[in-house]
């Protein structure tokens, strides 16, 4: 177990270093960082001094090392556009994105998995076919279109729910939460549905496919042949085995939520990292882009670790103590 975790840690570090290298290359080679920092009046001498001061004359590896160390401390430099440290900009938005993603993730799992199981078990039923068709439409509707339609219907026509932003938030230290106010919770509804819908259909279809696969296996056939009731066959044996492969992909999909939040945040003007990132792209604000990239990679690495450990816990075959 320890060696397993250690191995995954080493892999994670490699992944993070690779991503950091990409981020650093972006920062270093796209546009001239100096040009982005100083005004038009700055003299050549001052530019040279700044170049020296920032260490941009050092060997590539030294620069990269410094970048990586700074990044590890959460220091990504100054945003070209906002003239503020990138880390503080991201920190202000982190809680917004994480809360949105969390709610969407819960929605995805709570709705997606049961629907997947249902459609796998009642494949022939009318309701099940209806759900499958709806899910395909769900996959075919671009997220931004869903968001616009939801705003139009629930925000403008019915005036039930807020159409933008997080509503009132309560600060708990550096973390701001929308869970504690009515307007915060109301504000969460439309964006989280928008964000969850696509992943929900994906998870549902995945669970269905895996479940069908498992239901065809010999051990399910054997379980039936032993007279086990459907409830036990479906939920005790089939579902548990379904979840093993589902866990990995679900982990990836939940991570993807954080990144997919870009679109949702853009449509709902949700003050999260995605909105920051998309604006950084149109402004070519490289420090923000680089930081966002590294941060997303970090989330993925963490999620992957959790998934691996879960996997390990669920599947006895992975535990190394097997004997014959």
């Amino acid at each position: 177990m320890i060696s397993f975790i250690f191995k995954r840690l080493v892999q994670s570090v490699i992944v993070m270093l690779t991503v950091a290298l990409i981020a650093f290359s972006m920062f270093r080679f796209i546009g001239d960082p100096i040009n982005n920092m100083v005004g038009q009046d700055t003299s050549q001498a001052d530019r040279a001094a700044l170049t020296e001061q920032l260490g941009l004359n050092d060997p590539f590896l030294v620069q990269f090392g410094r970048f990586a160390l700074n990044a590890a401390e959460g220091n990504f430099g100054i945003s070209y556009k906002y003239r503020q440290p990138v880390s503080s900009l991201i920190l202000e938005r982190l809680s917004a994105t994480l809360e949105l993603s969390l709610v969407a993730a819960i929605l995805t799992l709570v709705v997606g998995i049961p629907l997947g199981v249902y459609t796998a078990l009642k494949g022939k039923g009318l309701l099940s076919k209806g759900i499958m068709t709806l899910s395909l439409i769900g996959v075919s509707l671009p997220t931004f279109l869903i968001g616009i339609l939801l705003i139009l219907f629930f925000g403008v026509m019915l005036r039930w729910l807020p159409t933008f932003g997080r509503g009132d938030v309560v600060a708990l230290g550096w973390w701001t939460t929308g869970f504690l106010t009515l307007s915060g919770i109301k504000s969460l509804i439309l964006p989280s549905i928008t964000l969850a819908l696509f992943q929900m259909t994906l998870i549902m279809r995945l669970v269905r496919a895996e479940m069908l696969e498992v239901l065809r296996t010999d051990f399910i056939k054997f379980a039936r042949a032993r007279g086990l009731p459907d409830r036990s066959v479906h939920f005790k044996h089939a579902l548990k085995n379904t979840l093993v492969p589902v866990i990995t992909i679900t982990g990836l999909q939940l991570g993807a939520l954080i990144a997919f939040a870009i679109i949702t945040e853009s449509v709902f003007q949700w003050p999260g990292m995605g909105l920051l990132f998309i604006q950084a792209i149109s402004d070519v604000d490289i420090p923000i882009m680089a930081a966002y990239l590294v941060l997303i990679a970090f989330f993925f690495v963490v999620i992957n670790m959790i998934v691996d450990i879960l996997y390990y816990a669920v599947d006895p075959r992975l535990r190394a103590d097997s004997s014959v």
Binding site: V15, M26, I30, L136, P142, I281
Partner: protein, 311 residues
């Protein structure tokens, strides 16, 4: 008339006699979605001939025709069946041309992903060892990032690297590259998986015993046998690529508004949604959803048809 013996069937006859064709003919959904998909592709290809007017020919459009509702409404103009946008471009024509751009981006990015993915997947699966480990590790890392994010990044980087006056001209290539590069992993993993299975099959070993060289084995023996799942992925990926393009264009980092794709059209129309000019956004929106849905349904059917154990 002589009876055609099974022994002399052509490939086409074989196809029409196959289980896949049979299952296709028995699935109304598959038939309809195939008709819709092919119809839209043809409409896009022949847009210059069938579109009532050319929205890209600036000299021919007149701003005085701007914001006309669909022809069946009282203020409509018979020249513009689905109305016009603010610049006086016929919505029907912009949709035809827009679908063309969406499909071009979709198809070429899929082909791009496919070529890269298949090549790396074959190499990875067949060579094994460190080559395999390296390629798959890269794939794993990339897989950590959703396609849309990678496409956004590539797009952002391209914006930073390329001079801005080039953006309009090459934005479509940037898009194809961005979406293409974000999708190769799936192909590579699938092809690698199939290659691992196929390479241990005895027909490959037989070819090796004969002495056939690895590249020939990959091309002649393994490639044709891994194409089934690849085609399924490609179909589903086409739908994803079209959505990704639309999303990027919606976010304003896709194709420019002078040569709008479906996503750009929706973005432009979105600004008019509240003012009552619904046709500018609704029609492209419907077109996009129908196109993607048709492709998805086709892919869904294909996955079931090519993977009989799933039924």
């Amino acid at each position: 008339m002589e009876q055609v013996t099974p022994a002399t069937k052509t490939r086409l006859q074989r196809f029409f006699g196959s289980d896949v064709w049979y299952s296709f003919m028995r699935s109304p959904v598959a038939i309809i979605s195939a008709i819709v998909t092919i119809g839209m592709i043809l409409a896009a290809i022949f847009a210059p001939w069938i579109a009532p007017n050319n929205p890209f020919d600036l000299a021919s459009i007149s701003i005085m025709d701007g914001n006309l509702p669909p022809a069946w409404e009282s203020a409509g103009d018979s020249r513009f069946l689905l109305g016009t946008d603010d610049q006086g471009r016929g919505v029907l024509s912009t949709i035809l041309y827009g679908a063309r751009i969406s499909l071009i981006v979709g198809f070429f990015s899929v082909i791009f992903s496919m070529v890269v993915g298949i090549a790396l997947g074959l190499i990875s699966g067949y060579a094994g060892g460190r080559t395999d480990a390296l390629i798959m590790r890269i794939a794993d890392i990339q897989l950590s990032f959703p396609a849309i994010l990678i496409a956004l990044l590539v797009d952002g980087v391209a914006r930073g690297v390329l001079p801005s006056e080039l953006h309009t001209d090459i934005s479509i290539y940037v898009l194809i590259f961005a979406i293409g590069i974000s999708g190769w992993v799936q192909y590579a993993r699938t092809v690698r998986g199939s290659t691992l299975v196929e390479k241990n099959k005895e027909y490959v070993q037989a070819a090796r015993v004969i002495g056939i060289r690895p590249l020939t084995i990959l091309r002649r023996h393994i490639l044709p046998n891994v194409m089934g799942p690849v085609m399924v992925i490609a179909t589903i990926h086409l739908a994803i690529a079209i959505i990704t393009e639309a999303t990027l264009s919606f976010l304003g980092v896709g194709v420019p508004p002078t040569t709008p794709s479906l996503g750009t059209l929706i973005r432009i129309g979105n600004e008019y949604l509240f003012s009552g000019d619904w046709w500018i956004t609704i029609f492209p929106g419907i077109t996009l959803v129908v196109l993607v849905l048709a492709v998805n349904l086709l892919g869904d059917w294909m996955r079931d048809a090519l993977n009989p154990k799933l039924r």
